[in-house]
């Protein structure tokens, strides 16, 4: 018995001592994966489908970049998702991608060199895709622009250094003349007229510069469910490359959502995406809103388009932001029924002076403190603080630049009053119990009266 206990103790000690040796190190396995750079309606998002995922999701009728690779994959418990270790081993599989819908004719895709980029425009949606030599040329052009900017920056640094050196020199000479009691106005005039070098502006050719040229199958499919596999040049199927592609489209398009920026938390914007919904606010600060077009996708399919390991609900649809409504005008009706036409204005976030934290949002004028700065935000200001005492709330709708009403842009903005009517609520909650007490009392009185009558009769 004692020997058994000692053996158990030794086993426990061994297990305790050995546990750091066997700490949880993710096991990496070599897998054939699909990497996908998928268009999600507003930009491109990279994701990958490991062996455990049998379906890749793409938006219908858009260019998406699919490639088959061999790499190390491991499960990462802290995030509950698969990760790749592409820095160690990442091999692009050559071949032909066969995509087949049902029993129809297969479509074959060849590997292509591609790049995608977003050119500068007034609003966000300016994505371009180039393949082959055009992709190489575009990347070279972007590199030249960046190189030119770097050179201009270096030149500016040199000029700025020379400028500062000359200023220091002139300043020293002025001091010297001052100490000798001689006239230094000439030097002062020269100092004032010395032209400061102009800092080069960053290039504005691209919002997102061209991605490095890579090889992939540029897949553009109509709505449907497709069988996909990679064939080598002898038409043999690469093991592990058989998957499904779900090509899906928006159920509803051109919905209108709003980005909502509260005046007291301008770095924490929220979004109102549900059509004709109510926006409840505390009224502690004015709101700065910006309307955007949105599209409604299947929740699961859209989530997995942007991240193949994401969770989503296949039974519901959710709205996704696509791009800002260009040149919108907002029509605001306050609780009193007065109508206001709001236009988009630039605003500047001004830090509070002194040691205390805080800021105020003021109209951007580009003068005074704002000189040399850009506007921090462009939005429509809603004077919510003025509506704190009003119970009906305000209604908001958007029109485009031609004054045409944008369906689904209606929102009601209501300032809530938490903590009000608590006593009345308690009375309401207890009212049925009061009625119950009255009924029980009435019933017992009735019974006792009946008993009394029976007693007298008996």
């Amino acid at each position: 018995m004692r020997r058994a206990a000692r053996a158990l103790l030794a086993l426990a000690a061994f297990a305790a001592a050995g546990s750091p040796l066997f700490a949880d190190v993710p096991v990496r396995t070599e897998q054939v994966i699909y990497t996908l750079v998928a268009f999600n309606g507003k930009d491109y998002s990279p994701t990958f489908a490991p062996e455990s995922s049998d379906t890749v999701y793409v938006l219908a009728n858009t260019d998406n970049f699919l490639s088959v690779r061999k790499t190390f994959v491991y499960w990462w418990p802290p995030e509950g998702r698969w990760q790749t270790e592409a820095s160690v081993f990442n091999e692009l599989e050559p071949g032909i991608l066969e995509v087949r819908r049902g029993s129809g004719e297969p479509r074959l895709f060849e590997l292509q060199r591609y790049t995608y980029f977003n050119v500068n425009g007034e609003y966000e949606q300016n994505w371009k895709v180039l393949v082959g030599d055009a992709a190489d040329a575009e990347v070279r052009r972007a590199q030249e622009i960046a190189r030119a900017y770097l050179q201009a920056g270096e030149e500016y640094e040199r000029q700025h250094e020379a400028y500062l050196a000359e200023l220091r020199d002139l300043s020293g000479r002025v001091e010297k003349l001052k100490s000798l009691g001689r006239d230094w106005s000439m030097l002062k005039a020269r100092m004032d007229s010395l032209p400061a070098p102009v800092q080069p502006r960053p290039p504005r050719d691209y919002v997102v510069p061209p991605s490095p040229v890579q090889g992939a199958f540029v897949v553009n499919l109509p709505v449907g469910r497709y069988r996909v596999r990679l064939l080598d040049h002898d038409a043999r199927v690469l093991e592990g490359s058989e998957k499904w592609i779900v090509s899906h489209a928006a159920r509803r398009i051109n919905g209108v959502g709003y980005e909502v920026i509260p005046g007291d938390k301008w770095t924490r914007p929220s979004e109102s995406r549900e059509l004709d919904s109510v926006l409840y606010v505390s009224g502690a600060a004015d709101l700065y809103v910006s309307p955007f077009f949105e599209q409604e996708f299947n929740d699961l399919q859209y989530a997995r388009t942007t991240d193949n390991g994401a969770r989503g609900n296949p039974r519901i649809y959710s709205w996704s932001r696509i791009q800002q409504v260009p040149h919108a005008v907002l029509l605001l009706q306050d609780a009193a029924g007065a109508r206001h036409r709001l236009t988009e204005e630039p605003y500047f976030v001004q830090q509070t002076r002194g040691a205390g934290l805080g800021y105020t949002i003021v109209p951007f004028t580009g003068t005074g403190d704002q000189e040399g700065s850009d506007a921090n935000l462009k939005a429509f200001r809603l004077p919510v603080r003025d509506a704190v005492s009003e119970s009906g709330g305000m209604t908001l709708k958007a029109t485009d630049d031609s004054g045409k009403y944008l369906p689904g842009s209606d929102r009601r903005i209501v300032v809530v009053r938490p903590g009000r009517g608590t006593a009345a609520l308690v009375i309401i909650v207890l009212a049925p119990l009061a009625v119950m007490a009255a009924v029980v009392i009435a019933r017992s009185r009735l019974y006792s009266r009946n008993r009394e009558t029976e007693r007298r009769a008996g």
């Binding site: 929220s270 609900n313 709330g393 809530v416 938490p418």
Partner: protein, 289 residues
């Protein structure tokens, strides 16, 4: 038929009166009002300058965790797009729905076991009239409690400036129709099995299966669980009130008026069909325990 209906109405009036002079209904109504008030007041406390943030109130942190964790964040944001009133109304009515349906099944089985139903049907009443009376009693109390609850929810909302919208009206209608189907299931279970416990077990079991199918179909579950749920639902969803409820809400969400009316009609047809089956069963088996 008219005579049977008249008898059913008389019995229903009697049963409603009995329910209203006993304390259970009031206690449950008070509980429902407390839940709805807490949900409305909690929502107002969860609103800051940027909008609704469930993390600001412990109650809504819990609700958000449960709903988002089970059905997804998109479902949660859609649920509260109009405010807390539709959710508050539906959730706070659940205890009353459970109380009314379970007590009806219990009462039917108990009276049947004691021979009281048999005694009644010696008179002008027949078993179907008694069954119909139980259903009408439940429907009356359901409408009464829904009216009280709606008034309380609207009052609680008005205090804190939370407004009702189209979804609230739809929720009210769908909850009322779905409740009728649940009561009809209660009546059917009472006719199928003669003992109280077996009838109750069958009724609760059926409702649990429907709830599981609904959650399995809507929840964020793994693909195999969803597939099993899908196969099971393919067979059973046509008799589930929750399926028609989801049809109603989906049609309303996509602004499809005809589909919405059709789904509401199907809910009513389901209730009528269940009562018809109950009528056939009780005609065959009689009311003797």
């Amino acid at each position: 038929m008219r005579g049977r209906m008249r008898v059913a109405l008389v019995l229903c009036r009697r049963q409603v009166f009995e329910s209203l002079v006993s304390p259970g209904f009031y206690v449950l109504l008070s509980l429902c009002l407390a839940i709805s008030s807490a949900l409305t007041a909690g929502f107002a406390a969860s609103v800051d300058s940027s909008g609704f943030d469930p993390g600001l109130s412990p109650l809504y942190r819990l609700v958000s965790g449960a709903v988002s964790g089970t059905f997804g964040a998109s479902f949660f944001s859609r649920l509260f797009a109009e405010g807390p009133l539709p959710f508050g109304l539906a959730v706070s009515f659940l205890p009353m729905l459970a109380f009314l349906s379970v007590t009806s099944v219990f009462r039917f089985g108990h009276e049947r076991g004691a021979g009281a139903v048999e005694l009644i049907v010696y008179g002008p009443a027949d078993p179907t009239a008694y069954l119909l009376a139980a259903f009408l009693k439940d429907a009356t109390l359901c409408i009464l409690s829904l009216a009280a609850l709606s008034a309380a929810v609207l009052a609680a909302g008005a205090f804190v400036h939370v407004l009702p919208g189209r979804l609230f009206v739809l929720t009210l209608a769908v909850v009322a129709l779905a409740s009728l189907a649940v009561f009809a299931y209660g009546a059917l279970c009472s006719t199928l099995l003669s003992t109280v416990t077996s009838a109750l077990a069958l009724f609760i079991g059926i409702q649990l299966v429907f709830a599981l199918l609904f959650v399995g179909g809507f929840a964020l579950v793994s693909e195999p669980v969803r597939s099993v749920s899908f196969v099971a639902a393919a067979a059973l969803q046509w008799v589930s009130p929750l399926f028609y409820c989801s049809l109603c809400f989906r049609a309303a969400e996509a602004a499809q008026g005809a589909e919405l009316a059709g789904a509401c009609l199907l809910l009513a047809v389901l209730s009528a069909s269940l009562l018809a089956v109950g009528h056939l069963v009780i005609r065959e088996t009689g009311v003797r325990a």
